[in-house]
Symmetry: C3
Subunit: 348 residues, 3 copies
């Protein structure tokens, strides 16, 4: 019998099953540098220890989305190695700041299963939790993926579709944000004086810049996250597949869009939660990614230092974001790569 594993298929999952994922990972300053080199992020809190300390952090925390990618990566070998598609995210909350030197590990619980009518695949819902070396949760999220069956005739596991919140309750946000000394927060160093009060529901922001993706870049990124999904790395195999090309890890687009969003959202340095997200189209090397945001909701939190903005963050391919392209009727514009609904926190 083969010693190597080719991952779980739909019929291998059981409702309520808990998986402890392999390969804990100490996050370091080296990861921070690579993340900067991959996306060019410029939020002052994550870039400068001095800035972070001045406002109340122990030092610069690890970028939230990098924490997400590392935890996500651990779930891949058990959850999505045989995925046809990554369908969505929900109920994602960041629960504790992560600092260089912390070690992350992950577990997932199967919270939903539904076989497709063609019996060739099914949808698996998992709630994944990332924990630090003390076992404290740093991140929690639900994602659902369409997973192939090994054997079409295999009996499907008991079906159940979980009820997921449309959006993370704003009251549940902020666990990963220490009390801020907002007076010590320098607008000159952060890049802008606009804080929470200066944004309005309904306003749209064109983040202006575009970034073209190279094969080496998205491969370096996915490997940094120890994400071993085959579709990202193997041109020999992908060349024979549906797209003829390697697929860029969807999270790479989230990070690109997030880094681009600095231009216009300079003080929205903390992603507190993700309400929903959809990778609308596949991305390939050579694509140029643009981004725009819309303020969906503003919530004053039960704390004096920061407020929450609910944003729609949209990534487009080869189309300037000044278009604010999204949908025509129910149909996404062909340029849309990502439609992400997230909570960011901003100092008051």
């Amino acid at each position: 019998m083969s010693k190597s594993r080719d991952g779980n298929f739909f019929e291998d999952f059981k409702l309520g099953q808990v998986m402890e994922h392999a390969t804990p990972r100490t996050v370091t300053e080296g990861d921070v540098s690579l993340y900067t080199a991959l996306y060019g992020s410029r939020f002052a809190v994550q870039s400068s220890d001095a800035f972070a300390k001045a406002i109340g952090y122990r030092r610069s925390p690890i970028d939230d989305v990098l924490v997400f990618h590392i935890v996500f990566g651990k779930t891949v070998p058990d959850v999505s190695l045989n995925a046809v598609a990554n369908l969505g995210y929900a109920e994602c909350r960041f629960l504790k700041p992560v600092y260089p030197g912390d070690t992350l590990s992950a577990t997932s619980e199967v919270v939903g299963l539904r076989e497709n009518s063609n019996r060739e695949s099914g949808v698996v819902y998992v709630r994944s939790t990332g924990r630090d070396q003390e076992g404290a949760p740093v991140l929690e999220f639900v994602r659902w993926v369409m997973v192939r069956k090994r054997d079409k005739s295999a009996p499907a596991p008991e079906g159940y579709v979980p009820q997921l919140e449309k959006a993370v309750d704003a009251k549940a946000l902020g666990a990963a944000l220490p009390p801020l000394d907002t007076a010590a927060y320098s607008n000159a160093l952060s890049g802008n004086s606009r804080r929470w009060d200066d944004y309005e529901v309904g306003e749209k922001i064109d983040h202006l810049d575009g970034m073209t993706i190279e094969e080496a870049e998205h491969q370096l990124a996915a490997r940094l996250y120890q994400n071993n999904s085959r579709v990202h790395f193997n041109q020999h195999q992908q060349g024979q597949g549906r797209f003829g090309r390697r697929l860029v890890y969807g999270g790479h687009i989230i990070s690109l869009a997030r880094a681009l969003s600095f231009n216009g959202l300079e003080n929205a340095f903390h992603v507190a939660g993700i309400n929903a997200g959809r990778h609308v189209s596949p991305t390939f090397a050579g694509d140029t990614v643009y981004a725009w945001s819309e303020v969906l909701e503003k919530v004053r939190l039960d704390r004096p230092d920061a407020g929450a903005l609910r944003l729609r963050l949209v990534a487009l391919k080869d189309k300037a974001a000044a278009s604010f392209a999204l949908k025509t009727g129910d149909q996404y514009d062909p340029a849309v790569l990502l439609d992400l609904d997230l909570w960011v926190l901003m100092p008051l």
Copy 2:
């Protein structure tokens, strides 16, 4: 009104204006590793903590040119986002060693302005200063760039062309070089026994090797420096422009040439100043960079451990440096990418 910023145009600058640039940056061992991976530099002082400590540093200092790039990167959003061309450098001095863990920030003062006769753009001169977390200056330099006007009919700011030194006075060099224990400086480990005494004015050195640039490499580099100049990253936009391609950040060529110059200048581990510099031609992915140096001047400093060499460092494209190509008459050889005039210090 849009929340995102598309940078300053020529008419936005005022003589004497001081800009405090955004996004302070803690430099780390991760940045050092990436810098090594991007250029392959082999100077022992910057590579080995043990070597650096033995001769008088606290530990390996950050490569001078990396410090330059990080400080430069901070000035881009305010100074050169709308630049047509980066015209020159002068009066650049390195003032204090930077170590992993130090946080760099930058300010710039507008020291010169001159509208072009076509009234479509003008030249902006800025003196930029990089400081560490204690506010101590680590680097100072003047650069001038041609910046577009937003509106051709806008009145030009008051004009003034600063008098810049032709070269940094050798007496002003060495602030970033601690007293060296030259006896502890191992020629075997540094790679060569030739020190300051062994070089002669007028001699030329072919650095032999060549490095071909990939898109992913120069993009990773510029993002590492948080340099957000659009021309480096956006093929969708650049494809429609004058060159049809992304432009490589000029500083990338400086770092490549500097790393190549190790072969023949093994003990010139410290760049103390830059007198002048010109990016003669644009560089693109696929170009192979070669480098050669000429010793322009030798100065004994008022210290017993090190002397200064003034070098011309030339980078060529797709042409071996054995040619020592430079100019025919007043005309640069078409292979010349960079013509840099710098001071390096070498142990006696």
Copy 3:
């Protein structure tokens, strides 16, 4: 006379000559992150400080193969800059764990020389030793390379072909493996419960995944190791050569195959020695690398915590490893890139 060096030619070597190589190198967390981004390795011991500490390390050790590459890189300017081919490895042993912050340097002794009958080149055998900042050996290996002569008519150095061990004696293994607390070794976190007892001599493992190599990736890798062999970096020159392309550093293939081998060898976290190795064919950007392993030998060591497996690790190009392609008669399958014979240790 030129100040730059173009390396030693065959007639420059002398039997018994000892070379102290340049550029000592402090290995850092930054190098670890880059190594992860380049290969995606997932062995828990090297990934998690918490995991490593629990079983008896001070913290996560540097990946053995990364240590090999850094030491190897130092030998290149003196040993193989004028090499036509890297012919083989033998008697490689890892002698002490290397941790972030350690500084590596290298020496080599010429242990064999043999001129080729065409008098245009010869084979140089060197025994290279990597040492840490305290002078303690961390790695030792013999390699032999075919090196060009500068001058065909130059007299050949005295010839001698050393007797090399067919394999490293298993009794000599394990110096770099601290006593393990095997009870604290979590199978869930390591990714598999199979330990030394679960492998059998003769069994073959298809490591399933494939990785396509990009130019930027192998260049970043070789520069990270400060390996300045020209064939990896210079398309302008290589384009005129035999292959028309840049050659990928052979060690890059070793690291790719080793990282792929995690799938099926999850607990074989320590490479203790290399018995023999051959780069069967050159590798180029665009090639997709697959890997398979065969268990050649099992040895119980004189310690209660770990056993040794002798493996053949084979890397293939553009051919799935399910083929277990190797040789037809004496002839290697054209897909074979690497045939490596190594010792790995596994917890009992």
